[in-house]
């Protein structure tokens, strides 16, 4: 463990250094009544000091993607194919394929929390009720280093101060239920940062929070990222949060990446009909009062009842019969940051 927790990382990797590369990731859940293809061929890169936003509606596989990276998919879920290349030490170590590691192996446990940390949506259910927040942060620190109890305690206080918890010396001995929602999420972030990870995955980190608290937490994450060159994966269903935070965006629908690109291109030149429809249907604070929204017809299909061909075709305004319902479109690469999976742009037809 670093001797002290500096606000700025001593040997921070240069912004833009690739840290994590996911290639063709497939995570399936095989149950008695069929196979749920929760993640079905997902690829993206995560870079130091940059934010990758993964956006999609419920059941699109965004959370399972995060859990697959960390090898914590619940049974009967299993990584069926694909690679998850992590370059440890902020891009200095030899790359490791996490998809090949057993989820309970010593290597994987050394990576979880130390190299890649996760911030969950619901801070209340991710903490133990029976330990003080200090004890829970100390556990993470002592698991990954040989710090003494006193050192770990001091560091826990320092971490709480770093994430803006007022009176950290006192808060460290409190239980999670004694904290407000916003404070709990700050403690959650402090815990994730305890071992100075290079990759932070935040799964709907502000969804359970009020807007003014959300603004505080997003600000904190941005500040920490800048100081520590964190590679951030931000998973959310909120296009507003994506617009404010992400550098690159992955749009998912039913386990597939339908489109990937720089945030400005995704919002101002969306290629995939789903992205286009999604952007039209979100209520905006800039809208004229009492105006109707464009809608996407139908609803998200049940995962066991997945449409043939392109999974979006039954709801797609550009549906081409005999094409879209026959085969799944392949990914068309537009440039190295931009790709789209749709027959309108080739799609391997």
């Amino acid at each position: 463990m670093p001797p002290t927790l500096m606000a700025e990382r001593a040997a921070a990797p240069a912004a833009g250094t690739p840290i994590l590369s996911v290639r063709g990731l497939k995570t399936y859940f095989r149950a008695d009544d069929g196979v749920v293809r929760a993640v079905d061929g997902v690829s993206f890169d995560v870079r130091a000091g940059r934010t990758l936003g993964i956006v999609g509606e419920s059941g699109c596989g965004k959370s399972i993607t995060a859990r697959s990276i960390l090898g914590i998919v619940d049974r009967p879920g299993k990584i069926e194919a694909g690679e998850v290349w992590l370059t440890p030490g902020g891009g200095t170590g030899a790359p490791i394929d996490l998809a090949k590691l057993a989820s309970d192996s010593a290597e994987m446990r050394a990576i979880r929390g130390k190299e890649i940390a996760l911030v969950f949506q619901e801070p209340m259910s991710s903490f133990s009720h029976y330990y003080t927040v200090g004890n829970q942060i100390m556990e993470a620190i002592r698991l990954h280093s040989d710090a003494t109890k006193q050192q770990a305690h001091a560091r826990a206080v320092e971490l709480l101060r770093l994430v803006g918890v007022p009176k950290p010396e006192r808060r460290v001995d409190e239980y999670p239920f004694q904290l407000s929602g916003g404070l709990r999420q700050r403690v959650m972030i402090a815990m994730a940062l305890a071992c100075d990870p290079h990759v932070l995955i935040a799964d709907e980190p502000t969804t359970a929070l009020d807007v003014t608290t959300q603004a505080q937490i997003l600000d904190l994450m941005r500040e920490l990222q800048a100081k520590r060159a964190l590679a951030l994966i931000l998973i959310t269903h909120d296009m507003g949060v994506i617009a404010e935070m992400a550098d690159d965006v992955v749009v998912m629908y039913l386990g597939r990446v339908v489109e990937r690109g720089p945030v400005d291109a995704i919002f101002h030149d969306p290629k995939h009909p789903y992205t286009q429809a999604l952007l039209r249907s979100i209520p905006s604070i800039m809208a004229t009062p009492r105006t109707k929204l464009a809608t996407i017809s139908g609803s998200i299909p049940h995962p066991l009842n997945r449409p043939t061909g392109c999974p979006f075709h039954p709801r797609c305004p550009d549906f081409k019969p005999g094409v879209c319902d026959k085969a799944e479109p392949a990914t068309t690469v537009i440039d190295d940051r931009r790709e789209v999976a749709c027959f309108l742009y080739g799609g391997g037809a």
């Binding site: 003014t212 617009a243 952007l279 209520p283 604070i285 809608t295």
Partner: protein, 332 residues
């Protein structure tokens, strides 16, 4: 014509402590709130969690007895005060105020088919003939754009959006004069949210419905409401027409709330106002204006004097000592 007038509504919850359960304090969930709703309009009641917006709506429905104040409800050409009526005397009025719930999964009985869920209010209010009820249920399903063939299915067969349509059909069954919708779209996916919001707007135009729309999402509120009422720690801070309040808020809390909403456009580098600290505790609120510890415009007076809700210009009500001098920023 006002369908509803809420005057100085208060709801306190006692905090009990010790062996004898003595009252040790009070949570002032709603602390003197006044507003009205005109026939055919949508009033959005907004605020963050714990501000008392849901408690207000529950008092109007008399799911909770108010501690103080009046709830004047206009029905059948007369005005009754729902706050004062004893439970038994409320019964004839209950049918006139209906509720649409937030969670479409827990608000429909999983053991009843759709026809019975929507038909139950009809049966309770005297529509004995099964034939007649089925006819009305069919009509209602048609209004919410669900096929009549779904009538004999159970709720589990439906998606969240379809269930919310069933909940709306049930609320419409008795031709209510007021519909209280508490976060009706916040549990839905964005693509489905838009469908339900459009449906609520459509039904209002067709049937002349009046909504009290309780929500925390200001983007959603902008799409559905005629007027917006903003609450903070049990009090009303501002009430105004939707276009006015978004373009030019007059209360510093409204300004901060608007600036905190993430805008779905990466080119708009928002200058967010980050509020310091947490929302005040309604059991132990600060003296004076509840918002003053977090307000960047606060002056000495705000710490001692509680500002009253005043009409600063026609149809604009603000409770801020500095409402006349501040120029606050909105969103276009």
């Amino acid at each position: 014509m006002n369908v509803l007038e809420v005057v100085n509504l208060r709801k306190y919850f006692p905090i009990r402590k010790g062996l004898l359960r003595r009252i040790a304090g009070q949570v002032r969930a709603v602390d003197g709130v006044s507003f009205h709703i005109k026939k055919g309009e949508t009033l959005a009641l907004v605020g963050e969690s714990g501000c008392g917006k849901t408690t207000v709506s529950r008092c109007i429905l008399r799911a909770l007895p108010p501690s103080e104040g009046e709830i004047r409800f206009a029905v059948d050409g007369k005005v009754v005060d729902l706050a004062k009526l004893p439970k038994r005397a409320l019964r004839p009025y209950r049918r006139h105020i209906q509720m649409v719930f937030q969670d479409p999964f827990s608000s429909l009985n999983p053991r009843m088919v759709i026809a019975d869920i929507i038909g139950e209010p009809l049966l309770i209010n005297g529509m004995r003939s099964g034939e007649e009820r089925r006819k009305r249920v069919k009509e209602l399903l048609d209004m919410v754009q669900l096929p009549a063939a779904y009538m004999n299915r159970f709720p589990h067969a439906f998606s969240g959006g379809q269930r919310q349509r069933v909940g709306i059909a049930r609320a419409l069954a008795l031709h209510p004069s007021l519909i209280v919708a508490d976060e009706p779209v916040s549990a839905l996916d964005v693509s489905v949210q838009a469908q339900i919001l459009n449906l609520l707007l459509d039904l209002q135009d067709r049937l002349g419905l009046t909504y009290l729309f309780v929500a925390h999402d200001l983007s959603v509120v902008k799409h559905v409401s005629d007027r917006v009422a903003v609450m903070y720690v049990g009090r009303m801070v501002e009430i105004a027409g939707t276009a006015d309040i978004f373009a030019r808020p007059r209360h510093p809390y409204t300004e901060a709330l608007l600036s905190a909403v993430p805008k779905p456009d990466p080119r708009l580098k928002s200058e967010r106002i980050i509020l310091e600290r947490d929302v005040a505790d309604p059991a132990n609120p600060p003296p004076g204006c509840h918002f003053h510890p977090r307000c960047r415009y606060a002056v000495e007076r705000c710490k001692v004097d509680t500002p009253a809700l005043q009409e600063v210009e026609p149809n604009r009500w603000v409770s801020c000592h500095r409402a006349h001098e501040l120029m606050l920023r909105g969103v276009q």
